[in-house]
């Protein structure tokens, strides 16, 4: 029973960040909650594939990410048709809640490719290392690094930061490549 308590505790403890990750990915709170719910259901039914002692949070993020990507492919046409459907739902939410000040940033995030968005959020907001993020996204560490860098440039560009060209022209500077911790 103790082991199960641990699992339950770890799962519940991960829910707030899972929701933050999901909302950042899809820009829609209801859909994000669905993603988290589906993630918990899947995790629960595949608990035997979780290696005790490893990072429960990273495991759950992987499940959520994969589920989102599968769903994303399925929904792509719908999303394209809707053209701005995300933005509309996003606006509705922003008006209802205290999230107004991040509306611009969320909107800019949604303009990134799914690859870049997930990489940037995992490293830049969720606090995963490049290595952990690479595992979650099932790709090479170098790929994550370049996606994070490109995501930052694109984000700054979308937000109208004038210095973007200068960063972009200097991809080899240590600072531009220094990674997600931003310490």
């Amino acid at each position: 029973m103790n082991a199960q308590d641990d699992v339950r505790g770890a799962m519940l403890a991960a829910v707030p960040s899972l929701r933050a990750f999901a909302i950042s990915l899809c820009g829609d709170v209801d859909r994000a909650n669905d993603l988290v719910q589906e993630t918990l259901l899947r995790a629960w039914s595949h608990l035997d594939s979780f290696e005790p002692g490893t990072n429960m949070s990273a495991w759950l993020f992987t499940i959520l990410r994969n589920h989102f990507r599968t769903e994303y492919r399925k929904r792509r046409r719908e999303v394209e048709d809707a053209d701005g459907g995300y933005a509309e739902r996003l606006t509705a939410r922003e008006e209802q809640t205290a999230h107004i000040e991040f509306g611009e940033l969320r909107e800019a995030l949604l303009k990134l490719s799914a690859d870049q968005r997930e990489a940037l959020i995992l490293v830049g907001a969720s606090g995963f290392s490049y290595e952990e993020a690479a595992k979650i996204c099932n790709c090479a560490v170098g790929t994550i690094k370049s996606r994070v860098n490109r995501a930052r440039l694109r984000l700054a560009e979308t937000l109208g930061v004038e210095a973007v060209q200068e960063i972009a022209s200097e991809p080899e500077t240590p600072i531009a490549a220094s990674g997600g911790r931003d310490e």
């Binding site: 199960q4 339950r8 799962m11 519940l12 829910v15 707030p16 960040s17 929701r19 933050a20 990750f21 909302i23 950042s24 909650n33 988290v36 719910q37 918990l40 259901l41 629960w44 205290a98 999230h99 991040f102 509306g103 611009e104 940033l105 969320r106 909107e107 800019a108 303009k111 940037l120 959020i121 830049g124 907001a125 969720s126 930052r152 984000l155 700054a156 560009e157 979308t158 937000l159 109208g160 930061v161 004038e162 210095a163 973007v164 060209q165 200068e166 960063i167 200097e170 500077t173 240590p174 600072i175 531009a176 220094s178 997600g180 931003d182």
Partner: protein, 108 residues
């Protein structure tokens, strides 16, 4: 050569397909972050000096690096703040109830 390119870049290059609303809101955001054009013009003034030695060119380069680090830092701060905003909402009841249901189901 490189320096000439820098100073000649006056207009912020923004993708033409972005709505001006988004661009404006982005600018507002960055003004709030204290990242308006003030710092930029100050930097441009410094860059406008003739590049007489390679030492100077080297200095300019580092200056640029610092600026980009600053922007990255502020972007990162905003990202984390946005994220934390959701994290601070805690665990909505639907999820603790879900786990409870799953546990009960397994006990039977």
């Amino acid at each position: 050569m490189e320096i000439k390119q820098l100073t000649s870049k006056k207009v912020p290059s923004v993708e033409p397909n972005l709505s001006s609303e988004v661009i404006q809101s982005g600018k507002r955001l960055f003004r709030r972050l204290g990242m308006g054009t003030g710092g930029m013009s100050e930097m441009n003034d410094k860059i406008r000096q003739p590049p007489d030695t390679s030492m100077k060119a080297e200095k300019t380069k580092r200056k640029k690096g610092r600026l980009s680090a600053d922007i990255q830092y502020k972007l990162g701060q905003q990202l984390r703040a946005m994220y934390t905003d959701v994290v601070n909402e805690g665990v909505p009841d639907q999820f603790s109830e879900l786990i409870q249901r799953l546990e009960k189901r397994d006990e039977k």
